[in-house]
Amino acid sequence: MYKLTGVIKTYANGKKRVDALQGVDLTIEDGQLVAIQGPTGGGKSTLLQMLGALDRPTAGEVLLGEENLAKASAAKLTKLRASEIGIVFQGFNLISTLTAQENVEAALVPLAVGKAERRARAAAALASVGLGDRLGHRPAELSGGQQQRVAIARALVKNPKVLLADEPTGNLDEETRDEIVALLEGLWRDQGLTLVVVTHDSHVAGRAERRIQLTRGKLRDAGPGKNAAIRRPAEVKPTDELATWAKPVEATAGTRAATPTTPA
């Protein structure tokens, strides 16, 4: 669970001061799918960086579980990023010289996972996002949607508690966007992840349980999204079996069937 209290983030841009976040209070429960919307420069990415332990607030508290990310050491933040937080970027941010499998493996390196297990888990993660036949491909040899799938596999291969996605569909066409949203939605549903998505796209935000509007560094709860009524089936527990991510989940009473992932 995230609990943000009075979070302020100020950047100095030359002599000019930019207040990216102005006293943000926010609680995100475990397993929630939250969409953060807002205009450009409103502080969305800054808030995501606070959540992702990529930056510290100028003032205030950012609690992830019991850990205050505002006060934690750099080593502790690195460890949290390595084990508990998965991040997906708008620009995919794959290492261009590495293959898809090696890119995914890179996320397991800080966890000191052995080579064989690393390779197996990376291959399984890629298979789960429909790229089982693209293990040896370099990013340049993949489409934008495929690259984002690799990035998602990289974020999830370590079984994080939290998945943060910064404009994950920003660079994709509409059809691919829908595929990626469906994939994320399915993973959230199956894995019990806390999923926070920063997006401009109302279509994407509309799929969230909860929508948050961030304008000029100030937060406003924008109400429930399309998935607000959805609850994951109690019998489906988060699992390490990455291959199951790609499998459709059977609809049960009071729930909606998860969208099966579609291979690219």
């Binding site: 290492i95 010289t97 590495l98 890179a106 390196v109």
Partner: protein
């Protein structure tokens, strides 16, 4: 993963890898070639010095004559001289003059004992270098008188110069020169007979020869004068039995014409208990300077030269090569090395800057600073290693080219400098000997100044017996440049390349570690 990523990066960013590696390779190759060439030139200098001063000699001690000292060339002829006869208007004259070469002064052999007791000295041997000038032939009575006048004038300074004798042209006589050197029998491991010269026939001296009238003769002199082992050579009117012939192993090396046991030479020259050259071997290369300083303190008036002093007296293409290697080569190597290091560092930092997104992403997924520094450092070290290996190949090819080119270097020993004076004098008369005066005398009248009443240096003395002698004062030894390759040099080259990579990695890693993940990712938005 580390090595996989390194391999992928080196291949993926091939241009940077090639540029950095080539820069370091050139530096390493240049350093290898220059170091090997430098070593070759040093060996060549050592060969030249060995040929001249003897192998293993670290220090030479001589005593230069002071200005105004020196007794001048003395010939005794006229009726009262045993070798002179007179008949009517001509006089047959014959005289041998055996003395230390001009510009050199004998040292008492007690100095040798003192030197041997000096700290840092491992071995000492001494020689007595002598020059025999023989005057023989017939001169007209008047001319003989002129000759006496000339000699007196040079001694007493009452005649202003040789111009007064320009009319002297009669007679039929020769002046021949013979270089004689007294050496300590049984002590040839050090000094002029060590290393460079070998016996080409007969035997060497033994301690039993200390007082015997025996001689070793240079093969060149023997060939010229049709001498052989078992024959005799006359020194100062005394027949010496030739027991061995000496030849040289190094092209151009000159020997004295005749070597005698030191004691015998001292008696013949009337210089008992005196020597001219002391050859010293130090206990170690590091003790050469301190031993030289101690000897200078012990013998303040003596000229003490170390190998490095002597090396500086070498001229010719060897000297030019030495200067080239020492100055241009060394500075060029250092310059290229620094340039390669700077190039590697700048390219690595530039590469890190270009990979801001990558490193920001890796930090975002949990890579620590240390892991990223290791990554950058390892990449740079591999670039250095590639550069080192390539440079090693280029450098070795360069060395092979140097060695296969058989570059011939000529090392000339100048006669200036007291340390070189005596040795040069040996060559002076060995090579220049026999420059007869048979023709008109006026033109060479100044030659009688060979006795050096002005106390001039040996070069002046060399001129004393004619232009040929002066030319010979610069003895030239040809050596073929061989650039040796030592493991230490190879390891040095690789180590330097790795150092370049390490430095680049340190700077690049430092740059990468300073990237804050949020800032790195934000800078791309």
């Amino acid at each position: 993963m580390l090595l996989t990523y390194v391999r992928r990066e080196l291949r993926g960013r091939l241009r940077q890898t090639v540029i950095v590696a080539v820069g370091l390779a050139l530096a390493v190759a240049l350093i290898l070639a220059v170091t090997a060439a430098s070593s070759g030139v040093r060996d060549a200098q050592s060969n030249v010095l060995g040929a001249i001063y003897g192998v293993g000699t670290d220090i030479t001690v001589t005593q230069a004559s002071q200005a105004g000292q020196g007794s001048g060339q003395q010939f005794q002829f006229a009726g009262e001289t045993p070798g002179s006869t007179s008949s009517n208007s001509t006089t047959t004259v014959s005289s041998d003059n055996l003395r230390v070469p001009p510009g050199t002064e004998a040292i008492k052999d007690t100095a040798v004992t003192a030197i041997s007791r000096t700290s840092g000295v491992a071995g000492v041997t001494a020689t007595l270098m002598l020059r025999q000038t023989s005057f023989s032939g017939q001169v007209a009575g008047q001319n003989l008188q002129d000759l006496r006048e000339l000699y007196r004038a040079r001694r007493g300074g009452s005649v202003s110069g040789p111009s007064g004798f320009t009319g002297f042209g009669g007679g039929n006589f020769n002046i021949s020169n013979l270089t004689v050197e007294g050496v300590q029998p049984g002590a040839e491991a050090l000094g002029p007979l060590s290393g460079a010269e070998i016996l080409s026939g007969g035997r060497g001296f033994t301690t039993a020869d200390a007082k015997a009238n025996v001689a070793l003769v240079s093969k060149t002199y023997a060939d010229t004068n049709k001498l052989a082992v078992g024959g005799t050579v006359t020194v100062k009117g005394t027949a010496m039995k030739i027991v061995g012939l000496l030849d040289v192993t190094t092209s151009g090396t000159s020997l004295s014409d005749v070597y005698l046991p030191l004691g015998v030479a001292q008696i013949l020259a009337g210089l008992s208990g005196q020597v001219t050259n002391v050859y010293v071997k130090a206990t170690s290369s590091s003790s050469v300077d301190s031993a030289a300083a101690a000897i200078r303190k012990e013998l303040p008036s003596a000229t003490v030269n170390t190998q490095s002093d002597l090396a500086s007296g070498i001229s010719g293409s060897l000297s030019s090569a030495s200067s080239l290697v020492k100055n241009l080569g060394t500075w060029l190597s250092i310059g290229v090395l620094i340039a390669a290091f700077v190039l590697a560092i700048l390219f690595t930092i530039s590469g890190v800057t270009r990979r801001t997104r990558d490193f920001g992403t890796l930090k975002a997924i949990g890579w620590s600073n240390g892991r990223i520094v290791r990554q950058v450092g390892t990449e740079s070290m591999f670039q250095g290693l590639i550069g080192g290996v390539v440079g090693l190949g280029i450098g070795l090819l360069g060395i092979v080219w140097i060695n296969s080119s058989h570059i011939k270097l000529a090392g000339s020993t100048a006669s200036s400098g007291a340390g070189g004076a005596a040795a040069a004098a040996r060559r002076t008369f060995a090579n220049g000997g026999g420059g007869g005066y048979g023709g008109p005398f006026g033109g060479v009248a100044n030659g009688f100044g060979g006795g050096n009443p002005d106390g001039a240096a040996a070069s002046r003395a060399g001129g004393g017996v004619g232009g040929a002698a002066r030319r010979a004062a610069n003895s030239t030894v040809d050596v073929v440049l061989h650039a040796p390759v030592h493991w230490t040099v190879i390891l040095l080259g690789i180590a330097l390349a790795l150092l370049g990579g390490l430095l680049a990695g340190v700077f690049g890693g430092w740059r990468a570690s300073r990237l804050r993940p949020a800032a790195a990712l934000r800078s791309l938005d």
